[in-house]
């Protein structure tokens, strides 16, 4: 489903080029459970953003569902993000003035689904993550764990094929963190491709396939997958 070929990403910081990603080759099949680990600055978030089509490679080719996405324009990329990719962030990134329900509705709204056919779908998803009583609360009325569950609901409301989570538990206590991981793994069990970026080995180890990164390179690829 995802093929990265010789991907390099260079940031120009001052005069000096910084290689965030160096010559990355990575194949991800549909329905995999992958963790990307590494220290801060190892390039793991950049890799995730690359996979999630938020960033463009400086060099190399990227195939998403066998389509070369390196050459697509912004709108086409936005379309793919909307329909096929779900994002989860460490800091939840919910829109503060919208209720849980409205936050989850947002991707449907962007896709042009009319209001009357959104409500049922959104309530069903919020119910499935245990927030049926919190649907009309705003983010500041929710706990961290609840906020992340809203964010997960928002990520999966368009039924994407890949779920990308960047330190999803990084801002949560261990109990809420565990619950979040369970929700994500449930989704994996139902067939979604799950990619988690983390520096927490406990969480990283749970993944079927573990990728370790250092200085913009994959240092422990499990070669059988390449």
């Amino acid at each position: 489903m995802i093929q990265l070929k010789n991907i390099t990403r260079v940031f120009e910081i001052g005069e000096k080029p910084v290689y965030a990603l160096k010559n990355i080759n990575l194949n991800i099949k549909s329905g995999e459970y992958i963790s990307i680990m590494g220290t801060s600055g190892s390039g793991k978030s950049t890799l995730l953003n690359m996979i999630g089509l938020l960033d463009r490679p400086t060099e190399g080719k990227y195939f998403f569902d066998n389509q070369d996405v390196s050459s697509l324009d912004d709108n086409a990329l936005a379309r793919i993000r909307l329909q096929k990719i779900g994002f989860i962030f460490q800091f939840f990134h919910l829109i503060p003035r919208l209720t849980a329900m409205q936050n989850v509705e947002m991707p449907l709204m962007l896709g042009g689904t009319p209001s009357f056919s959104r409500k049922d779908k959104v309530s069903a998803i919020l119910k499935s993550v245990g927030l049926e009583k919190r649907m009309n609360h705003r983010p500041n009325q929710l706990s961290g764990g609840e906020r992340q569950r809203v964010a997960i609901s928002r990520a999966i409301v368009n039924e994407p094929s890949a779920l990308l989570a960047d330190e999803p538990t990084g801002n949560l206590d261990s109990q809420s963190g565990k619950e979040i991981i369970h929700i994500l793994e449930d989704l994996y069990n139902k067939g979604i491709t799950l990619i988690i970026v983390t520096h927490d080995p406990e969480i990283g180890k749970r993944a079927i396939r573990q990728i370790k990164m250092k200085d913009g390179e994959i240092i422990s690829p499990d070669h059988e997958h390449l």
Partner: protein, 402 residues
């Protein structure tokens, strides 16, 4: 994203910004309100002048001696040389046309008027009996000038109502003799209070037969001749007749100027319209200020919502959708500001009308349309920059706070 959702999101955002939204709306509202009130006052002034003129009667022609053309000489000379005066005989000659209803030759000047020990300076106007109907005046007491041959002098006069009050108080002036200059005149009537009309205060005036006044001022000439046609459509025909008659009588010289009311009216009309536009234009500058304020508010909002924009992009919003959301917000601000301004403007005009009922204030319809148009236009113009900046937000930078 459908229109309903765009509007809903805009309303939620503007509502959550609370005070800032209200202040921005007010800035726009005061700009639009000022334009509407000022154009209302301008339009009111125009209507006032138009009404004043039509109270004179709408089918009047004024004949003024001299030709209105540039003749060199003193710059203060607006009207050309007057080689020949207008005379009462000229006026009589003009009446010989089927479409001339009535005519009033006029001599004007000022003289001391005294009754007993009281004396005051008063404008004196010499004319004929037709003047009463021509100017649509009413008599308070007695009768107007008698219907006599205009060339005949007669020592009678009619006075304005405030002049009567000053000289006679509540006593009847009819039949009393007053001294005007070196002459004695008998008062035969008092004109009903009229108020000021185009600069001439008819309440303060003495009206005497035209021949007597010419004698009094020791002149043969007329100040002007007022001609009333049988109806409006005949004005051009009468004008032609007047020119031909005067030309014949003045040995081939067309040495008069004919002023129709339409011409005077349209001159005033134009002047006031231009003034109104100028004043409204000055008020319009406040709309630009309001527009810049909207831009500023949107830019502040943009910098506060960068993370949110990054998020929207990450979950699949296109650049156009972000632009649309921001533009809609600024258009909402300016549009609803303009609507609020419309209410302020119309309310302000009603308030002026309430306190000054004599002044016919009227908000012209075009001002309403223009203010709504400006409302949308300002929002679009000043919203473009923030909206384009919003679309350019880099999702990674904004989401990771780099």
């Amino acid at each position: 994203m459908n229109i309903y959702d765009i509007f809903l999101q805009t309303l939620i955002t503007l509502k959550s910004a609370g005070t800032r939204t209200i202040l921005t709306l007010l800035s726009m509202a005061f700009g639009v309100g000022a334009v509407i009130i000022l154009t209302g006052i301008g339009e009111g002034a125009r209507l006032y002048v138009v009404n004043e003129f039509s109270s004179l009667g709408s089918n009047l022609i004024f004949i003024v001696p001299g030709r209105s053309e540039t003749t060199g000489g003193q710059p203060s000379v607006f009207i050309g040389d007057t080689p020949r005066d207008l005379t009462i005989e000229d006026a009589i000659a003009i009446t010989r046309h089927p479409n001339v209803a009535r005519i009033a030759p006029i001599v004007a000047g000022e003289a001391p008027l005294s009754y007993g020990s009281r004396e005051r300076q008063a404008p004196i106007m010499g004319t004929t009996s037709d003047f009463l109907e021509l100017r649509k005046l009413k008599m308070e007491q007695g009768s107007f000038l008698p219907k006599i041959d205009p060339t005949t002098a007669m020592s009678v006069c009619v006075i304005g109502s405030s002049l009567k009050k000053e000289l006679f108080g509540n006593a009847s002036p009819l039949g009393q003799l007053v001294r005007i200059g070196d002459w004695r005149y008998r008062i035969i009537g008092v004109i009903s209070p009229e108020g000021e009309s185009i600069g001439v205060d008819l309440d303060e005036i003495i009206i005497a037969p035209v021949a007597s006044s010419q004698m009094f001022f020791n002149t043969n000439s007329l100040f002007r001749i007022m001609v009333e046609t049988t109806n409006r459509e005949n004005i051009p025909a009468v004008k032609k007749h007047i020119l031909e008659t005067i030309k014949k009588r003045h040995y081939g010289e067309e040495d008069i100027t004919i002023i129709t009311q339409d011409a005077v009216l349209s001159t005033f009309d134009n002047i006031i319209k231009i003034l109104t536009i100028a004043v409204a234009g000055i008020a319009g500058i406040s709309l630009i200020v309001a527009g810049i304020l909207i831009m500023n508010v949107m830019l502040v909002s943009l910098s506060q919502r960068k993370t949110e924009i990054g998020l929207l992009k990450a979950i699949g919003a296109t650049n156009q959708q972000i632009t649309t959301l921001f533009l809609t917000e600024s258009v909402f601000l300016s549009f609803y500001g303009a609507i609020l301004g419309l209410i302020i403007g119309i309310g302000g005009n009603s308030l002026i009308m309430f306190y000054y009922p004599a002044f016919p204030i009227k908000t012209p319809l075009w001002a309403i349309f223009i203010s709504i148009f400006i409302g949308i236009f300002t929002g679009l113009t000043f919203g473009i920059l923030p909206a384009m900046k919003a679309a350019k937000v880099d999702p990674i930078q904004s989401l990771y706070g780099r």
